[in-house]
Structures are given as structure tokens and as C-alpha cells.
């Protein structure tokens, strides 16, 4: 199944949007230009990067086209029935367009590029193996909510507002673009819990590989050398930004937007890049992946594009001075504003938990990079300043701007590290290279490389341990147990039809909804009123509980049957303090078994005539409300 899913992910998530985008570009290119282009260059074998030089823009354009078609169907025709069939049909047509304009690739150099990609895959595979050591299931907590949207799209539900598709989304951070591409990749597979778990493991791995490629590219353009690119790639793979941003190991809307940004940015600052209006359209994809991260990415890319456009028009002004002045002004203004405006109550108080003091931010930086960052970053600045390339100056400017944003006191600002890490790594790699290129290969240099590799590996494992240590369960680091999979399969088989509402503590219903596709009462983002009803009900008798459960619903979908799930997590949640259990920041992150006392409560509930015990194990009980 792993290879089949790998094919699905690579083909439908990565290749087909590129094929669509390139196909559209070819179709929209004026006939005379196209003929001339082909006539002039047909004889020449091209390097693969020449062929896909604008591939990331094509990919984004293809993704936009995926989205455009479904939006037209939903808001024009009123239904998305037949969407997946249409996508397949258009894909065949686009492949034909691409094949008709297939350039001749220089296979000699293509082999070298493929070997480079192979190295990224091997390194990513090695780190993934360490990451998944004693972790059989994905450790990306958010994937359950994203999978819920993908499952809904496959069931024919779609809206540009995620909050109109699922009550898990009370806060619209993104339209379901990421989820649409994911749903296309999953089609036509049956979304069993086993399948979706495997899908996320595989998709996360390929995302990791693409992060490695993007890191290489950014490092190469900033450092002006493929060796700097290689060092940046190794850093991008080994260093896990383990707080809020999670770029390399977690496949998410924000991390996908950041990775596309990194590649677009690298392309735009590369020598030989020529501004095209089509690229302006492509970057619209970024905020459609994630409003905040993608939105800031667009601001940065528009600035780069503007400067390149002006330069092509012959403008002689200095963008660096203007840029520095703007970044400094924005940074000072932003930081001052952030300490005046209190946004901690956003997202039902969750935002307040994602506001860190400067001291905490410094600790997190050291957590990921150790003290090395204080040495390599200044050296990188020196290296870049000496070379004075466009990419280097832009990289420095953007990184300073992003760092200023991250210093501010707004909630969630560490999310911007998804963008900043690529530039930080490229600068650190440049700094390291500044030292390394002066050393001759020999025992000393080999020892330094081996030593650095060992330190990076050690830091990576310590960072993994720090992040995972609270997730111990039965000898594994995990968010879920085998029983979660088994019981999600059971409820999918029994309650897969519409009109069923799962009700449990926020963590249990969040996980089970993601695994099974059965609707829940808000998942991990269960509204406070429902949390209070469930908590009150469980703390009283079965009759009171039944009454309260009937008040819990889903404003988006009709509810005909309510199914109560009581797990060990439910009691752990119930026993938590009010300032935790009624708020979004609090989850029961690792599995819990039912204790003997818990079982007594379950038995009393199940014996009440309005309830029917459907299934019970030492892990959880599934109880229908009649």
C-alpha cells in the first residue's frame, strides 16, 4: 500500500498540478511565440532545470486551476458531483498538451540531478526513520482536522470557507485548497483509518523531500554555490523546528505554503530570472494555502518581483536602502503595536497560549540550533555581504524582516518561521562554507565534517526526545493507540452514513473523526457550551447526561443519531481544571486506558435505558443514545 500511496501523492499532488500549469501556459502562449520558441530550441537538448525552471509557478497555477474548477462547479452549478472524474479527464488532456511540447532533455546531466535528488531522498529517509523510531503513527496532531476536510470533499461537500464545511473549523485560517489537492490525491481510494494513516505518513515523507530540495535551492542562490546549497539542504533536513512552525516533518497548509514560497523566492532571485506576469497570478496560490503565512509570503514575493520588474524597465534606484528602511520601520511599528494590542483571546483563548516572551523564543531557537546559530549566522551575514548578490541581499533583508515579526508580541508569530527557516539555514550554510572553503580536504577537514555531522545528529535526537517525551504510551511515542484505529474502523463501518454525530472529549472525537470521517461535535475545537454540557453530564447521572447530549449538535449538518464515546482520554479531560478543559489549547495528547473507576462510570451510563452499549474494551466504550 505504501508504494501505491507514494505514487498517488507524487502523481496527483506534485506532478499533475505541474502538468496542468504547464499545459495552461503552453495553451495560453501566443502561437507565433510558441512556434518560434520550438523552432529555435528544438535542436538543443535542455537541462532538466531549464524545462522546469518555472515549474513551481506552473505547479501553483495548476493548483489554482484545480480550485477554480471546483469553485465554478460549486458556485456556478451548485454541485461538485463529477468533479473528480472531470479532474481525471482534464489531466489526460493536459498530459497530451505537455507531450506535444515535450522538450529533449540532456540525459547525461539529468543523471547527476537525479543522483542529487536521490541523496535528498536518502537523507530524508534516514531522518524519517529516526523520527518514526517507536512512533508507528504520524506525530502531526493537526492532520486529523485536515483529513476531515479531505474526507468531506470526497463526499461532495465543498465551500471556500472551511467553517462552512466542518464545525471543527470555527476559525478560517485557510480555504480548503490544501485539502482539495489532498482529496484529489486520495481519490478513488476507500478512506479507511489504515489508509488515511498511511497516506499521511507517505505524504509527510514526500513533503520532507521537497523541503530538502527547496532548502538546497535557496542555499544555492544565496550562497552562490551548490556546496552551500548542499549544506543548507542537510540543515533543512536535520534541524526540526519543533515549535509552532514544524516545517520539515509536518505536512500542513502552512508548511506547504512556505515550501512553495521558498522555491518561488529562490527562482525569482536567481541569476537569469525574467519577470513574467503569469508569475503574479501564480503567487495567489500562497494565501489560498494559508492566509497568514501565504499572505506574508506574497508580500515578500511582490517586493522581489517589483524590484526585478523595475530593474528590467531600467530603474537605477537602490532597493536595498529602501528595503532596509521599510523593513526597519515596519518592524519597529509592528513590535510597538504588538505590545499595545491584546490578541490573546483570539480563537477562544488558544492564541494566548501561542504568545512567547523573548526569553522563551531565544530558548526555542537554542533548542533547535544550539549555540551554533550565534556563530554561523553572523559568519553567513559576512559571507553574503562580501558576495553582494541579489539573492544574498534579499535573503538578508527578508530574514531581518521576518525576525522582527517574530520578535513582536502577536500570537502565532512563530508560524512565520516556516518561511524564515529556509533563509536562516541558507545564511548559516553560507557562514559554515566561509570557514570550510578555506580548509583543504584532509584529515582535519574530514574530522570537522564528521564531528559536525555527529553534533547535528545528536541535536536532532535530543530535539526529537524533547518534543516526544510527553507522548509515551506502551513503549511508543504516539498520539494514538492501535485501539483508536480499530475502533475508528468500527464506527466508520457502523455509522459511516450521514446524520450521525460522535460526541466525546475534544481529543477523542477529533482523532476519531479524522480517522473515520464520521462527523463529531467540533473535534478538538468543540465549542465551550458543548464542553460544559458534556462535562456536566458526565459528572451527574446517566439521565442528566442523556438530556445534555441531546443539546449537543452540529449547526452544519442534521443529526439523527448521537453516539457517545467514552475513553480514558475522556476522564483525563474531565478531571482537568476548568481553565484547561473548556479551552482549545488543551488536549489529551497521548492515549489513556480506562481505569477501574472509569469503568464503573461507563457501566452505570450503559445500564440506563436511553443508552445502548455498542462496543466496549479496556480502551473505550461506544454508547448509542436512543
Amino acid at each position: 500500500m505504501m508504494f501505491l500511496i507514494s505514487f498517488q501523492v507524487i502523481w496527483w499532488w506534485y506532478v499533475m498540478p505541474l502538468v496542468w500549469g504547464r499545459g495552461l501556459r503552453l495553451l495560453m502562449t501566443r502561437k507565433s511565440e510558441k512556434k518560434g520558441w520550438e523552432r529555435l530550441k528544438f535542436w538543443k537538448r535542455k537541462e532538466v532545470e531549464e524545462v522546469i525552471e518555472d515549474g513551481v509557478f506552473d505547479w501553483a497555477m495548476g493548483g489554482l486551476a484545480y480550485l477554480g474548477v471546483i469553485v465554478l462547479m460549486k458556485y456556478g452549478l451548485g454541485s461538485i458531483g463529477g468533479y473528480f472524474g472531470l479532474v481525471w479527464l482534464v489531466s489526460v488532456l493536459m498530459m497530451m498538451v505537455n507531450l506535444a511540447h515535450w522538450p529533449r532533455i540532456n540525459l547525461k546531466t539529468f543523471g547527476m540531478r537525479l543522483a542529487g535528488l536521490g541523496l535528498v531522498v536518502i537523507l530524508a529517509g534516514l531522518v524519517t526513520w529516526w523520527w518514526r523510531y517507536k512512533s508507528p503513527y504520524p506525530l502531526n496532531w493537526d492532520w486529523y482536522q485536515h483529513q476531515s476536510l479531505m474526507s468531506l470533499i470526497e463526499k461532495g461537500k465543498f465551500s471556500l470557507l472551511a467553517s462552512q464545511m466542518s464545525n471543527t473549523f470555527g476559525f478560517n485560517s485557510y480555504p480548503p485548497t490544501f485539502h482539495l489537492l489532498g482529496a484529489i490525491a486520495q481519490f478513488p481510494a476507500k478512506l479507511t483509518p489504515e489508509y488515511v494513516v498511511m497516506f499521511w505518513k507517505v505524504a509527510s515523507f514526500w513533503h520532507f523531500v521537497v523541503v530538502g530540495v527547496a532548502s538546497f535551492w535557496v542555499g544555492k542562490v544565496i550562497g552562490g554555490s551548490k556546496w552551500v546549497g548542499m549544506v543548507a539542504m542537510v540543515m533543512g533536513i536535520f534541524w526540526f523546528d519543533s515549535s509552532v512552525s514544524f516545517t520539515n516533518l509536518f505536512w500542513l497548509p502552512q508548511t506547504s505554503a512556505a515550501t512553495i514560497f521558498a522555491m518561488m523566492w529562490a527562482r525569482m532571485t536567481e541569476e537569469g530570472y525574467r519577470f513574467k506576469w503569469g508569475h503574479v497570478a501564480s503567487i495567489v496560490m500562497l494565501p489560498l494555502m494559508h492566509y497568514v503565512v501565504g499572505g506574508l509570503a506574497v508580500v515578500i514575493l511582490v517586493a522581489v518581483m517589483g524590484q526585478r520588474w523595475l530593474k528590467e524597465k531600467g530603474w537605477k534606484g537602490s532597493y536595498v536602502e529602501i528595503g532596509v528602511a521599510m523593513v526597519l520601520l515596519a518592524a519597529i511599528g509592528g513590535v510597538m503595536l504588538s505590545y499595545q494590542v491584546d490578541l490573546s483571546e483570539l480563537n477562544q483563548g488558544e492564541a494566548g497560549k501561542f504568545m512567547y516572551s523573548l526569553e522563551e523564543k531565544r530558548e526555542k531557537l537554542e533548542q533547535v540550533y544550539g549555540y551554533g546559530v550565534y556563530l554561523l549566522l553572523p559568519l553567513g551575514v559576512v559571507a553574503v555581504w562580501r558576495r553582494r548578490t541579489l539573492a544574498g541581499e534579499w535573503g538578508l533583508l527578508v530574514l531581518v524582516g521576518l525576525m522582527a515579526v517574530m520578535v513582536s508580541n502577536f500570537p502565532y508569530v512563530l508560524k512565520f518561521f516556516t518561511l524564515g527557516r529556509f533563509l536562516l539555514h541558507a545564511l548559516m550554510a553560507s557562514g559554515l562554507w566561509l570557514l570550510a572553503e578555506r580548509m583543504r580536504w584532509g584529515i582535519a577537514k574530514s574530522m570537522v565534517v564528521i564531528g559536525l555531522g555527529g553534533v547535528m545528529m545528536g541535536m536532532m535526537i535530543v530535539n526529537f526526545e524533547t518534543w516526544k517525551t510527553g507522548l509515551w504510551y506502551q513503549g511508543e511515542y504516539t498520539h494514538i493507540a492501535d485501539e483508536d484505529i480499530e475502533m475508528a474502523r468500527l464506527i466508520q463501518q457502523r455509522y459511516g452514513q450521514e446524520g450521525v454525530l460522535l460526541i466525546s472529549d475534544p481529543s477523542t472525537q477529533f482523532i476519531w473523526e479524522g480517522l473515520s470521517g464520521v462527523d463529531s461535535a467540533g473535534g478538538a475545537y468543540m465549542p465551550r457550551i458543548y464542553r460544559e454540557l458534556l462535562s456536566d453530564g458526565l459528572n451527574q447521572d446517566a439521565e442528566q447526561l442523556a438530556g445534555r447530549l441531546r443539546l449537543i449538535g452540529d449547526p452544519l449538518y442534521r443529526v439523527e443519531k448521537r453516539v457517545l464515546v467514552i475513553s480514558g482520554r475522556t476522564f483525563a479531560w474531565l478531571e482537568a481544571a476548568d481553565e484547561d478543559k473548556y479551552y482549545f489549547h488543551f488536549n489529551i495528547w497521548s492515549p489513556r486506558e480506562l481505569s477501574l473507576n472509569n469503568w464503573e462510570v461507563v457501566s452505570k451510563i450503559a445500564s440506563y435505558p436511553e443508552f445502548e452499549l455498542v462496543f466496549a474494551s479496556s480502551y473505550a466504550a461506544i454508547i448509542e443514545l436512543k
Binding site: 530558548e363 510527553g470 481505569s595 477501574l596 473507576n597
Partner: protein, 251 residues
């Protein structure tokens, strides 16, 4: 922070069945995160030696602990700390605890295999001393039911209603034993502990030749070794197995 690497805030935590185990200021503890259950601790505050006059002396007295008259040793220096974290991640070693006080060094080391942890305690006196016995202990919770897994005899202060409740879930009737004293020697070398707030049973096993005792007043399971010896070093161990149901107790 060690060698440029920022270490986790928590000491390495490992899993023993449904329990977690980690190092604290006063020793090692087994517990279940997120459950209102007890911390089962192995500590020099409870472990003791018996001198030749029959006096029981804790390895670390309450007064010494409160006044800080001991040092909690974080083994191996900075590199050792990093190694400890990496080994915990790989599961190649469990947590350990070491303390030093005037004239005595005590170290607890663990080896984890599946759902079982073997805890080895080593004590090293600065000068050879004569003793007649020693005890290695596991502190259990006030609500715990302590019983013999073979005879089903209960050795803790437990109400009949608790035993009724446990019968429903264990599928076995535990039996009260008449005439127990606060300090009760047990006939076997293993004993089981169950807490209604937790989802697992702990089975404690001690070496052949030692006596197993339950101190009902201080909530201690004791592995008591009685032999006259003059020496600087001694070693003792006990094994703790976390099982999820009755069938696993006998395995």
C-alpha cells in the same frame, strides 16, 4: 544546555506498560500521566539498612533531605546528560538516580524490557561498615489494594466494598486475611498492587532468599535481606511488571 545543545526540560521519561518512569529529586517514580493515581517511588528516603544493634536507618533521612545535606548527582557531566537523553530516546537505557551524602553514595539503575523494569540499587560506603540487614522498598498509594497474586490474600487496609468492586473487573475474589499486623511478612516473593484510579496492575518481584514485607503504616513494599556482613558495597534489586489484565499476571 550542554555542549551547545539545549536539553529537554524534563528528565528522560520512559514507558513501562501504561506507566511512565522518570527521575525525581528524591529517587525514581512510576506513574500514569493524566490519571489521579499514586507515584510509586523507589527512594533512599525509604530504603534502609539495619545495623548490628537492630536499628533501622534510612539511607537518606527526612532531615537530610529537607536541609539539602546530600547531592543529587546528574551523572556523567554534560556529555553524559546528552547521552542519557539519546539513550532514553532509543530505549537503550532507563532512567537512573544517584545521590551522595556524607560517607555514602547510592545509585538506582533501571533496565526495561517490555512491560517490566528491573531496578538495581547500589550503595557504596566510604568506609566498610557492619550491618545485619537491608531493605529495598517501593512506596504504594493510600487507595491501593495489595494482594498475593496466587492466594489472592489482601495485605492492605481495604474495605469489602472495594473488593466487591475489584471482583467485578478482575474476575477474581480477593480475600481479607485476619490478624494482619502493620508490618506483615509475606509468604511468597511476589506481590500485586492495583489502584482503582489506574488502568493496570503492578506485580513486584524480589530476589529468592529475601523476604517480602508490606508496611501498611507507611505504604511500603519491602524486599528485606537479612545477613551479617562487613563491607563497603552492597547491591539489591527488585522487578516491577505492569500488566493490563489478570491473565498477564501469571506470565
Amino acid at each position: 544546555m550542554a555542549w551547545g545543545i539545549r536539553l529537554p526540560y524534563q528528565y528522560p521519561v520512559v514507558s513501562v506498560g501504561l506507566y511512565q518512569m522518570s527521575e525525581f529529586e528524591s529517587g525514581l517514580s512510576l506513574y500514569q500521566t493524566g490519571k489521579q493515581g499514586p507515584y510509586y517511588s523507589l527512594s533512599p528516603l525509604n530504603d534502609y539498612i539495619v545495623d548490628t544493634t537492630g536499628n533501622r536507618m534510612p539511607l537518606l533521612s527526612g532531615g537530610e533531605f529537607v536541609n539539602g545535606e546530600y547531592e543529587w548527582v546528574k551523572g556523567g557531566g554534560k556529555l553524559g546528560e546528552i547521552e542519557k537523553v539519546i539513550q532514553a530516546y532509543l530505549g537503550t537505557s532507563g532512567p537512573s538516580y544517584e545521590m551522595v551524602k556524607d560517607g555514602l553514595r547510592v545509585k538506582y539503575e533501571t533496565r526495561i524490557e517490555g512491560n517490566e523494569v528491573e531496578v538495581v540499587r547500589r550503595q557504596l560506603w566510604e568506609k566498610a561498615r557492619r550491618w545485619s540487614g537491608q531493605g529495598m522498598t517501593l512506596r504504594f498509594g493510600v487507595d491501593d489494594v495489595v494482594f498475593d497474586p496466587v492466594s489472592l490474600a489482601v495485605y492492605s487496609w481495604s474495605q469489602e466494598s472495594e473488593l466487591d468492586f475489584l471482583e467485578a473487573f478482575l474476575g477474581r475474589r480477593l480475600m481479607q486475611v485476619e490478624g494482619l499486623t502493620n508490618y506483615q511478612l509475606l509468604p511468597r516473593n511476589s506481590v500485586a498492587i492495583v489502584n482503582p484510579n489506574l488502568a493496570s496492575i503492578l506485580v513486584v518481584e524480589i530476589p529468592e532468599g529475601n523476604r517480602l514485607a508490606v508496611d501498611r503504616e507507611y505504604h511500603l513494599i519491602e524486599s528485606v535481606e537479612q545477613r551479617q556482613e562487613l563491607g563497603q558495597e552492597s547491591e539489591s534489586w527488585l522487578k516491577i511488571r505492569a500488566v493490563n489484565n489478570w491473565e498477564e499476571i501469571g506470565k
